[in-house]
């Protein structure tokens, strides 16, 4: 189980990295924490010609906390996030979700940007960013652009990230007084990718509800948001409204299982909502 042979580059600046990424005559692949990419390379499912290691780019690491937003560098590792007490206090939903990501050794390497770019529908971070209404900042040799999390996820491992682009940061609205958050995930074993999960952020009585591991991408429950926004007690009606989601099965079970579990995680995440 060894990867194919490839060339390795470790650019020292974002500009150099983007220059390398812009080569369209070859399969150029960015390496962040490697906690998803290296398994896929070992399986030979990903076969880079050039591997561009982003771990030398200090400019992509770390967070800035503003009055109502935090900007998190793409190369910030989960363990850096978790140990940043101020950031965790301002992003309680992220703080609740992080312990569900794999285990300590993976969190010591894996990065937020890597998880966002991976667009793995079974993982926590994309759904958390969707619930928080985050914005993904992308850069290519030709410049920068921002894409709302709502528009970023397109399908299994598919996102708005275009060839030649890198995720450079994620802008996340921070918690304000009165905001409430809920997170619940069902996994067979601790740290496993979820069987189903829900992340909820409620601001000004308006909830944003994002599900993961129920479809081919993280998805919002729009009707449920509307129903619960109007009446926080009408959970049953909100559960009923989830039929609108395009459920996809996996090895755990078919769409029926996902539909059922989506109701359960919604109910339980909602119950977690603390003012």
């Amino acid at each position: 189980m060894k990867p194919v042979d490839f060339n390795f580059e470790r650019p020292a600046s974002l500009t150099d990295a983007l220059e390398l990424m812009s080569r369209d005559d070859m399969n150029v692949v960015a390496l962040a924490g490697g906690q998803s990419l290296l398994p896929m390379m070992n399986f030979r499912m990903v076969r880079p010609d050039i591997l561009v290691d982003l771990n030398g780019l200090d400019e992509l690491r770390g967070s800035e906390i503003g009055p109502d937003r935090a900007r998190i560098g793409a190369m910030t590792r989960y363990s850096d996030l978790a140990s940043n007490a101020e950031l965790m206090a301002r992003l309680p939903l992220l703080a609740s979700a992080l312990p569900h990501v794999a285990n300590s050794a993976i969190r010591n390497r894996g990065t937020l940007g890597g998880s966002i770019a991976m667009a793995d529908p079974t993982t926590e971070m994309p759904a958390v960013m969707l619930a928080l209404g985050a914005t993904i900042r992308l850069a290519s040799r030709d410049g920068e652009r921002s894409v709302a999390a709502d528009d970023f996820y397109l399908g299994y491992y598919e996102s708005a990230l275009e060839s030649g682009e890198l995720v450079i940061a994620i802008d996340v609205p921070t918690a304000a007084p009165g905001d409430a958050f809920g997170f619940y995930e069902v996994a067979r074993r601790r740290g496993d990718r979820a069987m189903a999960g829900a992340a909820i952020a409620r601001r000004n009585h308006e909830p944003r509800i994002a599900f993961f591991s129920v479809s081919d991408r993280p998805v919002r429950g729009f009707s449920a948001e509307r129903i619960l926004g109007e009446n926080a007690a009408s959970v049953e009606a909100a559960e009923g409204s989830l039929k609108e989601i395009d459920f996809h099965g996996d090895l755990h079970g078919g769409p029926d299982l996902k539909r059922h579990l989506a109701r359960i995680v919604l109910r339980r995440a909602w119950a977690e909502l603390q003012p």
Partner: protein, 159 residues
């Protein structure tokens, strides 16, 4: 063929230099270039934890790092723990509790356990189990491993 990379990694206190292909993972490097065969590969996709080692002080999966990425880094494996006199109490507790059978998982277990103990966490069994959830052991059933970690913490003498 891609070019070779000349890398120098400090492994268990020794500087090891070799020219290698980029695709060589850190564990293969440690085992074949440096000859420290204590760390094992169990799955090569990040799940089993057998390859858990310390890189610049952090417990990481050695199978999910390329050796070229560790150029200039400081790596400690199970041999290094023993050689540098670290985790002595932990090893004694593993022996006393019979926290290993075949011992194939042990090098990774020790590194994960050490990370837990050194972070000052409690001896609560569920918390220990949660932390150790990324290290697979087919032989022991885990209980003796939890016992050993809890015993070290409760002794108050550190790992």
């Amino acid at each position: 063929m891609s070019r070779l990379h000349r890398v120098t990694i400090e492994i268990n206190g020794e500087q090891v230099t070799a020219s290698i292909a980029a695709r060589v993972n850190l564990i293969d490097f440690i085992r074949t270039e440096a000859g420290f065969t204590g760390s094992h590969l169990g799955c090569e996709h990040g799940v089993c934890g057998a390859c858990t080692i310390e890189v610049d002080g952090a417990a990481v999966r050695g199978c999910l790092m390329l050796a070229v990425q560790a150029d200039g880094a400081n790596v400690v494996t199970v041999e290094g723990l023993a050689g540098m006199g670290r985790a002595k109490n932990l090893r004694a507790a593993f022996l006393a509790e019979n926290a290993l059978q075949c011992g194939y998982c042990t090098p990774g277990m020790l590194v994960s356990a050490l990370e837990y103990i050194e972070s000052g966490e409690s001896s609560d069994r569920a918390t220990i189990r949660a932390h150790m959830a990324g290290n697979y052991c087919r032989c022991t059933g885990y209980q003796a491993i939890v016992d050993a970690i809890a015993a070290v913490i409760e002794s108050g003498e550190g790992a």
